[in-house]
């Protein structure tokens, strides 16, 4: 019984489950000051970085781990080769959101299935994915949302199942 539920859940499209309140997604422009970034982290655990609010083109993401890496007392690499990571609040080497964001992003599209997204989350050990249409940010999907969705589905599904049997 449960198996059928989860396979149905897997096949759901992202656009069917994402939060419609797009204005509630944390976003910031890449040229925004690092202090504005920190401010957002007072309420959020991550922020999507856009080329501009107008274009909504997604260029990066900043997570709590990125903040940790610039907040912790800086220890420079022991070897003097390659490009050293000097980003640190201590040495004022990060000034804008662009300096801090990671650009290698895993994303999904509105037509991807939940199964697909869950696999990406597990493989890359991430808990949230941007939903992009082309390069434009159209929403986000979090593990938290998916868990809730699944839980609700279990409740709902069992009701439907009972009705059918009854």
């Amino acid at each position: 019984m449960k198996n059928r539920l989860i396979t149905g859940f897997y096949e759901l499209k992202i656009k069917q489950v994402i939060d419609k309140r797009i204005w509630d997604i944390p976003v910031i422009e890449e040229k925004d000051d690092i202090e504005n970034v920190l401010k957002i982290f007072g309420r959020r655990h991550h922020v999507w970085v856009l080329k501009s609010q107008k274009s909504k083109e997604l260029v990066g993401v900043i997570t709590e781990h990125d903040i940790l890496s610039i907040l912790v007392p800086k220890k420079f690499s022991a070897y003097g080769v390659g490009m050293p990571d000097i980003r640190s609040l201590q040495y004022e080497t990060v000034t804008t959101a662009k300096d801090l964001m990671s650009t290698k992003m895993i994303s999904c599209g509105p037509d991807d299935t939940i199964k697909n997204v869950l696999q990406k989350m597990a493989r890359y050990q991430i808990r949230r994915l941007p939903v992009v249409d082309g390069k434009k940010l159209v929403g986000e999907i979090t593990l938290h949302q998916m868990i809730q969705r699944y839980y609700e589905a279990t409740q709902y599904y069992s009701l439907v199942e009972n009705k059918k049997e009854g």
Partner: protein
């Protein structure tokens, strides 16, 4: 096939090397000096003139015969580990070099890098010739002075709180570029006997392995990801790295170029996030320290007695070459005299790439015998002196008004 040497034969040497390297590295880190110097000194302590004299020593004690294990830091077996350390280090440099960031660096950075490559190369070669080295040996001395090791400069600039200034950004970018230029120059010079062939092979290598590689690396890594086994993507990445090292070597442009290019490619992919920490774990925990210990252990201490004046000249040439070469580059790009000087001084330290180039030259038989020992000893002295004096010089250029 009968194996005459097994891993346990050198296990003792390896263990001792790792421990002493880490302990010495720790002391140097405490003294705010590069850990690499500690690792080289660990090698000297363990080498034929240090603990190495006790190697295989047998002594009797109340009828008990105790035989100390063989220490073999110059054996072929040990070299294997050290050589893999060189390749892994180059692979890691590649992984950490972002092509998009290199594209963003400004005009001053390129000017500084080129100035700092050309002048030390010329001055080093002239110094070698004047001291009676052959022209190949002299060019090698020049090449050894090309690549900057940015470690101590970063720390000093951080202490001075100027990492985020124009000077800081320029030095950091230029140091990455001159590493690459140094490696390419080394590859070119290796093939100097047969310029046509090396020209063709380099073209083939960069066209196929870099250009095509950039096109397909994403697909290859995505494919590699399909093999859903623990760390399989790391295995695929290491395989790509070894393939590239092999083919680059066969193209006559040395394995290090291949390792670097492989790192550069894989570093562009999304998956590099996942593998880069693992590669560093493999390299920095084991193979890379063994390379630096090997360098220290293979130097003939008596060579230090011979190189006196010559090494002083090389060090001076190395310092002047960077200050003037990079300084002129910075000035031409429109920086002030003071900032140009600061950039030049920041570029003085040499370390990893210099030691890699000389080690490869020795293992390929480009330099042999006493000359090899002298050049290696000179390189070690140069790397240590240039890294030790840079913090003082750099602080002085920021402190004094002139």
């Amino acid at each position: 096939m009968i194996f005459t040497v097994t891993i346990v034969d050198i296990a003792f040497s390896l263990a001792l090397a790792l421990i002493i390297a880490r302990v010495m590295g720790y002391f140097f880190d405490k003294l705010k000096q590069p850990t690499v110097i500690g690792e080289i000194i660990a090698g000297i302590l363990l080498g034929g003139f240090g603990l190495g004299v006790l190697s295989g020593f047998t002594f009797s004690f109340f009828g008990l015969t105790i035989s100390l294990p063989q220490l073999s830091y110059t054996s072929d077996e040990f070299r294997f580990f050290a050589d893999l350390g060189i390749l892994l280090l180059m692979f890691i440099i590649g992984l950490e070099t972002s092509i998009s960031k290199l594209k963003e660096v400004g005009k001053p950075t390129f000017f500084v890098a080129f100035g700092g490559v050309i002048l030390p190369l010329i001055l080093g070669s002239i110094a070698g010739t004047l001291f009676g080295f052959s022209w190949q040996e002299s060019i090698l001395i020049g090449l050894m002075l090309v690549a900057t090791s940015i470690g101590v400069t970063v720390r000093t600039l951080a202490d001075l709180h100027v990492l985020n200034t124009n000077v800081g950004i320029t030095v950091l970018g230029a140091a990455v570029i001159d590493d690459v230029l140094g490696i390419i120059a080394f590859a070119l010079i290796l093939g100097i006997y047969n310029p046509l062939q090396i020209g063709i092979t380099i073209t083939i290598f960069f066209l196929i392995f870099l250009y095509l590689g950039l096109k397909i690396i994403d697909k290859v890594m995505n494919l590699g990801e399909k093999i859903n086994l623990p760390k399989s993507l790391l295995s695929i990445s290491l395989a790509i790295f070894l393939f590239y090292s092999f083919f680059a070597d066969r193209c006559g442009i040395t394995g290090i170029t291949g390792a670097f290019v492989a790192g550069l490619l894989i570093g562009q992919t999304i998956q590099s996030k996942k593998i880069s920490d693992d590669v560093k774990a493999i390299g920095y925990s084991f193979f890379v320290p063994l390379f630096f210990v090997g360098v220290g252990a293979s130097v003939d201490l008596t060579a230090f007695l011979v190189i006196g004046v010559f090494s002083v000249v090389v060090i001076i040439v190395g310092i002047i070459g960077k200050i003037v070469g990079c300084g002129i580059g910075a000035k031409l790009a429109g920086m002030s005299l003071r900032h140009s000087l600061q950039v030049g001084v920041g570029m003085i330290p040499r370390m990893e790439v210099a030691l890699i180039i000389v080690s490869i030259a020795i293992s390929r038989g480009l330099i042999t015998g006493d000359v090899a020992h002298q050049i290696l000893a000179t390189t070690i002295v140069t790397t240590i002196v240039t890294t030790l004096i840079t913090p003082f010089l750099l602080k002085a250029t920021f402190k004094y008004r002139f």
